[in-house]
């Protein structure tokens, strides 16, 4: 694994992004933003922190970067996938072309990627699956065999099933209500998939409970796991120390680290799940 430290010229930026386009994708809203400089510094697993403009809401809203793309006119673009859940995500989902969004990014430590071409299983639940697609592409470029498992409550909340088939060797879908793919949860489906894929590494993004199940299944299977945690992040930039995750460090000692700064991607076996 190579850790990717943030060096000079690769740190985050605070910019005013512009909405280039927006469309509905199942239960989600998919936004394409011109965010000068942010796309260029992106690595899979990074997120952005958005500022609400109303003066009444001060905490940031963290969102996975789904994809970055070079475009002709606007430099590279950044894509987000929004599930309207509260005031901030509803505001984002309602934005129209030309709207401006203050954001900081790319933020967080990205997924560590294997040096060798190994077998990788990527598990994404709900919108969080969005974070895995750029990773899947890089892994494929490195010659890894990529298997994707998408999970959600129902069909509308499965993100990226089509896109997954373009990137991955094998794709599975599970939904709690069985409306798409097999009926069940990621935790239930994973052990079988890990075996079939002869997985060396498991990457996952989604709710903590799912990540915990993924980490356990990976450990049982003898694979490394890298999980992208969503802990409430008032600032997203490492300033407020409010997104604490209890981990066991390389030194075997328990530490409290910031999800936004030392994470949000962690080794599954390092997280003290019981204390989260």
């Amino acid at each position: 694994m190579t850790a990717v430290p943030m060096g000079e010229g690769t740190g985050p930026l605070h910019v005013t992004a512009e909405v280039l386009s927006t469309k509905k994708v199942g239960a989600y809203r998919h936004l394409v933003l011109a965010a000068p400089g942010v796309a260029e510094r992106f690595r899979p697993g990074n997120f952005v922190a958005v500022s609400l403009p109303d003066g009444a809401h001060l905490a940031r809203r963290s969102l996975w970067i789904h994809r970055v793309r070079p475009t002709g006119s606007h430099g590279a673009t950044v894509e987000l996938v929004i599930e309207p859940a509260g005031v901030g995500t509803a505001w984002l989902a309602a934005l129209t072309q030309g709207a401006r969004v203050e954001l900081t990014g790319p933020l967080g430590r990205p997924f560590a990627q294997p040096k060798e071409p190994v077998n990788c299983v990527l598990v994404g639940e709900g919108y969080a699956a969005a974070a895995l697609f750029p990773l899947a592409e890089r892994l494929r470029e490195r010659g890894c065999a990529v298997t994707i498992l998408l999970a959600a409550d129902d069909e509308a909340h499965v993100f990226g099933a089509l896109e997954a088939r373009r990137t991955a060797r094998s794709v599975s879908v599970v939904t709690v209500d069985g409306s798409l793919g097999a009926k069940g949860t990621a935790g239930q489906a994973l052990p079988g998939i890990l075996q079939r894929a002869e997985a060396d590494v498991v990457y996952a993004a989604g709710p903590s409970a799912t990540l915990h199940a993924v980490a356990a299944a990976a450990e049982a299977h003898g694979a490394w796991s890298q999980v992208a945690l969503e802990i409430p992040q008032p600032c997203g930039t490492g300033l407020c120390h409010a997104c604490i995750v209890p981990v066991i460090g390389e030194d075997g000692i328990a530490h409290k680290v910031r999800a936004c700064a030392e994470g949000p991607v962690f080794r599954g076996d390092r997280v003290q799940w019981g204390l989260l």
């Binding site: 985050p12 605070h14 001060l58 905490a59 409430p232 300033l239 407020c240 604490i244 409290k256 700064a261």
Partner: protein
């Protein structure tokens, strides 16, 4: 009273709102963190305080934060945080709280031995100090005792700033006591005792509290016209900063606004440098 701090760069980072410094530096202008008036660390205690996570909730135009003085402790700070700040030339003010007067003195002794400490900010504004196991400096004479204890350990050239509770009806009396005991500057305003939605004791900060901070400043300014005052509480724009400076503060601290936009403190500093405002 000596006044070793110069306030020609009147914009600082408020205690606890700049991470370890490194994270914030990513958003600084050319001079980095050294280009602003000062960086106040989060409040440090002798021993680390894990105490659960800092819990932050939004309230209208504010953040409500339940913290229990979470911090890595003095040793770890001296080992992992201060050296970087010193190396970058940051004017670092270390915020401290102690369980006893002796502990305050001990923390100070150890801090001033390390290179790179521009000053100490005594956090006498801890909400409900007994619950948090901190020396109770609510009464002015107790606050003065802390100042005396710390002052005695300070070499020339290290400033002593004292942060007071933001209670307008009582702040002037507390200010007088600590100024007489030897504080170089007072930090007035700051977070207000509040509660999370579930009733947990917490502190309210952000633009919501700005009018209270302004009142605190006015009270102390009137009572002690000669003492340098550093204002904090809800400052989010250069205009806010100009308002506090023209009300008599020698400097301002920016806190919660940084969580919303990490460039705020640098933008305010450079806007003030370009256009300090009518009264300045």
């Amino acid at each position: 009273m000596s006044a070793p701090t110069s306030f020609d760069l009147p914009v600082m980072v408020a205690s606890g709102c700049g991470g370890t410094g490194r994270e914030l530096a990513a958003y600084a202008q050319e001079d980095g963190l050294a280009g602003i008036g000062g960086f106040v660390t989060r409040t440090l205690t002798m021993d680390p305080r894990a105490g659960g996570r800092v819990r932050v909730e939004e309230s209208p135009a504010g953040l409500v934060r339940a913290h229990r003085l979470q911090n890595p402790g003095l040793d770890r700070f001296l080992m992992t945080e201060l050296p970087w700040l010193a190396q970058q030339g940051v004017r670092t003010f270390v915020s401290i709280a102690g369980a006893t007067l002796a502990e305050y003195a001990e923390i100070t002794r150890r801090l001033v031995r390390a290179p790179g400490v521009a000053g100490i900010e005594l956090n006498l504004a801890v909400d409900d100090p007994r619950r948090l196991g901190v020396f109770d400096a609510t009464e002015p004479f107790q606050a003065a005792r802390v100042v005396t204890a710390v002052r005695a350990e300070l070499p020339v050239g290290v400033a002593l700033h004292v942060k007071l509770p933001a209670v307008p009806s009582r702040i002037a009396t507390a200010a007088r006591a600590v100024a007489e005991a030897g504080a170089d500057a007072l930090v007035v305003g700051g977070a207000l005792p509040a509660a999370l939605d579930n009733g947990t004791p917490a502190e309210l900060s952000g633009p919501a509290v700005r009018p209270v901070a302004l009142r605190c400043l006015a009270e102390v300014r009137t009572a002690l016209p000669g003492v340098p005052l550093i204002a904090v509480g809800g400052i989010a724009t250069a205009d806010d900063a100009r308002g506090f400076l023209s009300a008599g503060a020698v400097a301002v601290q920016v806190g919660t606004a940084l969580l919303h936009d990490p460039t705020t403190v640098f933008r305010i500093a450079s806007e003030l440098a370009t256009n300090p405002g009518d009264d300045l």
